[in-house]
Structure formats: structure tokens, C-alpha cells
Amino acid sequence: MREKLLQIKDETLANLEKTTTLRDLDELRVAIFGKKGELTQILRGMGALSAEERPKMGEIANSIRQELETALEARKTTLAGAEMAAAMESEFIDVTLPGTRPILGTKHPMTMIIEELCNIFTGMGYEIATGPDIETDYHNFQALNIPAHHPARDEQDTFYVEGGHVLRTQTSPVQIRKMEEGQLPIAIVAPGKVFRSDDIDATHSPVFHQMEGLVVDRGIHMGHLKGALTVFAQTLFGEDVKTRFRPHHFAFTEPSAEMDISCFGCGGDAAKMPTCRLCKGEGWIELLGCGMVHPNVLKNCGINPDEYSGFAFGMGLERIAMQRYNIDDMRLLFDNDIRFLKQF
């Protein structure tokens, strides 16, 4: 019997090598381990052995059975792998055919630039504020220290609507609305559309966007104004950008300033500057107007200028977006050609 067992083992291992498919392997398994399998038959015959022989033979038979099962399992893994590989070989596809792309929409570049600016300012602790497009003369002008007949009114070619109201010419009236709420301190930015009766061309549009900023608290001074706007400029344009504040005049700030940033085109490099198209040889690009809130404006909103001070700033957003996205004609922003919009 022992010889028989060893013979089965040797033959089976030899046959195992000859199997080429999982089906062959299964047949082999049945031939050995099946109900009528060779090994099964032998194990059934164990009952006829003597009590002395039985455990010895049992041990041998078990060990052989285990050895064969392990070998069968290993062969199965090999054959299955080979069969899958063969199947996949026949399943090849042309991976250079175009992918199936879902239609994705895009945000307008002005939305993107407004989001970017809002993120910078909210990160600095500012809230976002809004106001109506159609404003009272009071909010758009008078409360901002621009009385009737003030020359600043002529500079901002105003659209008037019935009822003595105006299409707001600036986002500054949002300052007034925020201060009128009476909650101090204030730190807001207010992005939005503004309207001026300019004919549309490559650099003008009767509708454009501005962002206004306002901070009011005790003890605010020009150093805070410079600090906040420098951080803003460096976040938006990079750590290396330089800022320059120079005196200017606005009716609703005193002292007033304009902030320039070093030109992205020439970087203020004396060699490149004279031919730089971006800054026209100045080395600086005017970015925004700013200043300390005029005491008349604070008073108009019921804030005591002896107790509180603040700073305000305002900037046009189209130019920033056009620089950011390399857009050379403002009309593209309002044209709504899908081939343009899809690029963002």
C-alpha cells in the first residue's frame, strides 16, 4: 500500500506538469480526489489494515494528500493567471481614441477674480458687503462728501434714472450703507458692478466692476492702510511685488493716496522700463485709490470722527482680470462668446 501511495504521488505530480488548462487540472483533481479518485479509493481501503499499520499508513497518506493539494493549488494559480493574461491579450482597445468627457461649464473670469480677491480679504478678517445697483444721490455722492456741483460728479459720467436716483458710479455707497448700520468696528470689502456713461471700447465699458474696502475702528492710521493694502497686493501678485503710495485727492478721504505696484512687465528694471507697454515706461502700475475716511463722511453716518477713524480703498477689477488672464480687449468680457468663456 505504501508503494501504491508513493506511486500515485509521483504520477500525479508528473501529470500535474502536463496540465495546460484549468479544465485539465480539474479533471486531474477529480481523478485523484474525486469520489472514485485513486487516492480516495486507497484511503477507503485503510479499514482493512491492522490496528498497528493503520496509523502509520494514515500518516503517510495524509502527508501525500496535503502535498498533492498544495501542488494542485499552486498549479491552479499559475494556469488561472496564464488564462487571464491570454484573455486580456485579446481584449485590447485603442487607447488613443478620444476620451468621453462630460460637459463642464466655466465661471466667468470676472467671477474668478472677484472670488480671488474676496478670499484674500476674508482671510484678513474682512466681511463681504453688497448694496443696490440703483442708488440714491445721497449715498452715491452727498454722503461721500460730494455735494451737488462738485467737480467729481462731472468726472464720473453718471447715468440718472427717474426719481432722482443714479446707477451707482462707484462701490463707495456700500461704505455708507455699512456705516449707517451702526455696528463698529467695521472691516468690509464690497465687490460689485458700477455704471458710467462711457462708450464701449477696448478699455472702457459703461458697466464695470469695482471693489471697495472700508475699515473703521479706534486708532486707525495711515500705517494700517499701508499695511493692509501691501499684504493684499503681495498676496495677489506675489511676495516680490513692491507697492508705492503717493498723495492724491478724493472727496471722501483725507489724507488720500493712490497705490501703485511695481510693473509686472518690466519689474521697474531701468533697462526694460522705457519700452515696457504695460507701464508705459513708468515702472509702476496704478492699482487703487485709498485714504483715511474723511471726517465729514464719518459724521454723515453718525460716527464721531474724534473717537473713530478709518481707511477706505477702491479699485477697478477689469484691469486686474485682464492682466491676470491676458485679455487685451475689455469687450470680450461682455461679449459672451462661448469660445471665450470656455477658456476659463
Partner: protein
Amino acid sequence: MNLPISWLKDFVDIDNLGISLIDFADKMTMSGSKVEKIHHLGSDITGVVVGRIEEINPHPNADKLIVTRIAIGSGEFKQIVTGATNLTVGDYIPVALHGANLADGLKIKKGKIRGEESEGMLCSVEELGHTRAEYPEAPEDGIYIFSEPPKLGLGSDARIALGMLQDVAEFEITTNRPDCFSIHGLVREVAATLNYRLSIIDYQLGKPHLDRVAVEIQNDKLCSRYVAAVVENVKIEPSPQWMRARLMACGLRPVNNIVDITNYVMLEMGQPMHAFDIRAINGNKIIVRNACDGEKITTLDGVERVLDADMLVIANESRAVGIAGIMGGEGSKIVDDTTTILFESANFNGVNIRGSSKRLGLRTDSSGRYEKGLDPNLALACINRALELVEQLGCGDIVPGLVDNYPAPRQVRKLDFDPAKIADLIGIDVDRAQIAEFLGRLGIAVQGNTATIPTFRYDLEIWQDLAEEVARMYGYDKIPTVVAASSNVGGKTAQQHMEDALTETMVALGYSQMLTYAFESPKAFDKLLIPVDNPLRNAVRIINPLGEDTGIMRTNPINSVLTALATNYNRRNQQTRLFELVKVYHPSECGGLPKETEYLVVGGFGSVDFYGIKGVLETIGHTFGLEEPTIGFEPQKSLPFMHPGRTAAYKNLGYCGQIHPQVAENYEIGTSCYVAVLNFDLLRNQANMIKAYKPLPRYPQIQRDIALVVDNAITHGQLSAKIKDAGGKYLRGINLFDIYTGANLPSGTKSMAYSLTFRADDRTLTDEEATKAMDKILAATAEAFGATLRQ
């Protein structure tokens, strides 16, 4: 405002300050007088020197040409062929040598003219980029001949001899600084910036009263001062070259000595002046009065102007001789035979001048200066300066005395002076003495707690104005930068977060954001087939629109989206899908601000159909947590611009559907286009943005399919509502998966196939329970719609 550097040098010895032009410009910009540009006038002309004609010979081959021999210094001579007829031997003339650049890009090269060598060109003023108005001594058609040998001699730069070479700093002047629209004003700023001690002659000298003319100011609100002087025996001739050169450098055209003096004083000191031929002031009385409505005057540009009663005129006893502060009359202007003139140096109200100038459509250097509001104390100084120039130029005899009608002289202003407050507002640590020194540079005297403001700085009204003066003298760039650690919690409001969520959703749905104008043409209502009496036509009207196309504020967003779709259709763009969050405007009932409502508008053609656009609304409903976002669509037939059979209202929020084919045609869109409109203000109010997890089902669901045959008129909405109603509490999902019409169904009927899902949350549902529910559904739909099971 242009500042010729040569003029600046009359007052500030800038050459000895060791400062380059670029540094100068930079310092001025940083102290508040922004230099826009430094112009190097004459720099485009090169290679032109002073020459003298030595010989003139006939051209051997051409009757109309001559051959000249020109000395250009250092013993050098050039042969030049010319056609000019105004030359004589010994004349000094500008010579363009080989390689010279002249006006209009003309380049001079030597060569042969009809066989004779010509080594350059003799120049007229036109070829040097100027006109005879600027060089009245130049011949009408010929070579410019210097009236005397130029000082720098033969071969020197002819541009210098002609006064063409000028460095000019162009300043941007802010509206609060009318005083800086003058050389004096800018010089004062330069001196303050460079801390330079100035000496400007004080021309504020009163003179005895002049009896020869009388001045009556009828409206002293509009004319606060009128100073007049008379000059007799006037010889009208060109002004000297130095004066003309300065006028030209500032962009003014020389006219004659008297007119040039008035312009020169205006540039130098900022006060517009006028000179009248005294013959026009018959009766010797000047009356400053309002014009009569419809009064006419021909101004010295030869245009007849019709005046109104708010305009101020200078008149004699019978008629107007000039529009005050804007332009003199044709009849009173200085002409060649003028012998006696009257100088006017007056102060007119800026607001009034601006209004008149606007209504007349006539803006002059004079009105531009008055508009900004001038110091009336200038008027006397300027007439004195003008008379000084009359003497200097020897152009007439001054009649002694002045008329000075100045009812309410402007006083110096006193402001509270608190150096600590000033330093605190700027954020600098500077002592009182230093602050007083800064202000002193600007002519502001400080004594105790009072600052005395000179009358030419009437823009300084409050102590914060003084702070700006101190800050700019200190240097804005030197103010220490403070980055405050913010204790504010910033961020967006709930509304802004919802706007962001909407934009994100629309982008994910494949729509691109457009940007449309809030105003549109009233004709849009016609294109949209909106009936004449429809309230949508009640729009906020713009009183002064750019044109009719932008005459009203939109009352609904359809025109905006159709205009954008039309643009894309016209450009053959396929698959256009657009959206925008827009405002629409409705007039207020009670005189307040118009009502502004935010709307989402979506539109598309190409890859969009009704169910696609409807799906957009369903998705948004889901995003904003509406209850049952897919429920609530009802046929909507009443919108004039929508296809009546293919439009659905959505809850109370908006609608979606196909644009009326006629409307699409009106917009020249030759394909079906679809829109969805949602009132975003209402949506926000109904939105539930709170996300809360609901446990996943723990027990299996049972799915049953049912195909119901119903009349064609029965809608999915009706059928699904009934199924839901009858299905009981375990019915969790109703999914329409097939609609069939055709063979083996009775005509006029359709089969609607639904897949229904049943589930209990606390146990495994039994088949019997599902069957029971299905029976109820069958019974209910049979009763309501005569539905039968499809066999």
C-alpha cells in the same frame, strides 16, 4: 499742466541742486504732484544746424533751382540745392545735414539733384514741425531766416536757436489744487518738495483808481472781483521769441503781443485774463451781468452763440462783448489796428462757469481754470504782472491806475492746529517743530494752536487737510507700515455662500457663466412679444442713456440671455449653454429706490432640450434642499415669449421651457433654444442648506414593475401622484422607465411603465405587503384614470 523746465529755472536753480530730471519727476510724484511724463520737445528733429549762405549760383540744369554754398562753422562748407526764392547771401538759416531727421519722419540724405551734388536741405519751420503761427516772422513759402545771427554761432544746434528744444514736465493736477494749474503753483510745490527757499515777486500792489472806465458788477455772486487796466498807443506785433517758445511748450498758440501776454500770465500765475479793444466798450462802462435768455453773441472764434439767463456776460451799455470767463466776443477782439486795450483780470464763480461752458459746448483754457475755483486775490497780482510785461515788451503806454471792484475780499483762513492729532492720524512720531516746518514750506504759518492758510490754498478746510500736507512733506513712503492682527471674523454672508453654491452647481451642469448688461433697449419688449399693457413693460428708465439701445433697466432676464445666445448662434458656435445670476429692476411704488430682484437665468441650444433644462431646475432644487425638488412642474401657457406647449412653471420660483419660435426668429436664432428662469431671492428664502445624514436602509427593498395603459391625455404628473397617494407608507421610489404607444394598444392610449420600490425601515418587508400595495395602486389608478394593466 505742463511745466517747461526752462521756466522752472526762472525760480528754482535746479541745475545746482544736483538732481536729475528723472529724480526730480520721482520726488514730485511722491510729494503729490504726479509727473505723467517728461517730454523732450524737439527731440524728434536731429541733425539741423545753423548755417550762413555764402554763395548763390544758378543751377546749370534747372531754371527753378539754385545751388548754394553754406558755411556751417569750423571752416566747413556744404553745397545744397534748393528751390527757395527768399534767400540772399549772408542769411542765417537752419540747415539739415546728411542723416538729419525732420518732422513727419522725413530723413535727409545727400545726393544729386538734376546732376548737382546736394549735401542736405535748407529748412522751413514746417519742415521742423512747427507752423507760421508759432514763428510769425517765417516767410509764407520759403526757408526760415534768422532775424539776427544766433548766439551760439555757425554749426550750433538750430533747435536751440529756434527755441524748439525744451524739456517739459507734464503734471497730473488733482481737482483740489486749482493753484497748481500755473507755473507759480508748481514752482511752490517744487520748492516745498526740494526744501528750496523761493523768492517770487509779490505783485499784490494796489494802484490809484482809474477814472477812464467804470465797472459795474450786477451779480457779485458770480463775479466776486473785476480788475481792469488800460493801455494806449498799443503796437500790435508778434511777441518775442522767448515768450512764444514758452507758450508753445505749454500747448498754446502764439497770436500777438497783447493776447500772448494774457496767455503768458494765465500760464505763469493761473489767472485767465482777457484783453478787449476799448472801441468795443463804447461809453467806457463795463457791466458784468447775466445774459438774457436767447441773447446772441458771436465769439472770437467766429461762432454765433445763444445764451441763457444763467450765463454771465461782460457787456457795454448796449450789448455783450464777451462771455465771462469763457471767451471774448468777435467784436471786441484785438486786431491789427487796435490802439487802446482794456485788460480784464476777474474772478468768476467756478460752478457757474462750468455749467455755462457745458451748456454752450465751449471749453477753453480760461473756463477750465475758472471751473476749479480761483483765488480772487490773484486778480490784482496778475494784472500787475501783465502791465509789467507790457512795459518789458514795449508794446504800449500804460494809463496810470486800476479799476478794482472787489466787494467782499477773501480773507486768510485759520485752522486749529494740533500736531499730536496730525501725527496720530498719519501714524508717525514727529514733533511739533518738524510738523510746523513741513507746513511752513507750503506757506502755512503756525502760531500756538492756529495755522494760517494762504488764500491760494482754499482747499485746506480742516485739520485732516493739514495732516495730508504734513504726510506728503514727510513722505508717504516713509510712514511705517503696520500689519494689524485682525480680531474680526471675516467671511461671506449666507446669501453669498448660496450664490457660490449656485454658480458651482451650474458649472458642474455644463453651463458657462456669462456677463450681460443690466440695461437694454425698450424695443426688447417688442422682440419678446410682450403686450403693450403688460406690467413687464413698466421699467426703470435711464434719463441720459448712451443710446436707445441702453434706455431702460431690464425687467426680466430673457432679453439678456437671448442676446447672448444670438451672438453665439450668429458665430456658428455649437452647443452653447449659458447662465448668469442677474438683477432685474422694477420701479418703486412709493418713490423709494427701485426694487432689485436677483434671478438665475439659464439658456442654451444645441445639446439642450426641454428635459435637459428641466433637469437643471431639479438639480438646483436638490442643491438648495427644496422639499421634493422634482415635484411642482405645471404647464405654463401665459408667458408671451415662451412656447405655450413646452413650458413649465416650477413651484412658485420660476419656469423653464422652449423659447417661442417667433421670438427665436426675432433674435435671428435659427434653432430651438431653451431657457430656465428662477427667482433667486425666493429660492434663498425656501432653501434649506443644512445637511443632515439619514441612516442608510438596513433592510432589503422589494422592487415591482407595473405598466399601466391610460389615455394619452393623462400625464406622468397625475399618474405618479396617484401612485404615490395609493402606494402606502412603504412605497419609497417611483421611477418611470418606459412610455410605449403603438401596435397592440388601443388607439389614443399609452403604456406608462414604472418601477416601484417598497421598503420598511424596521424589518424585512414581506411579499404579501408589497402585493397588497400594488393592488391598491392598480385599483386607485383604474378608478381615477381608467388605467388597466398592460397585458
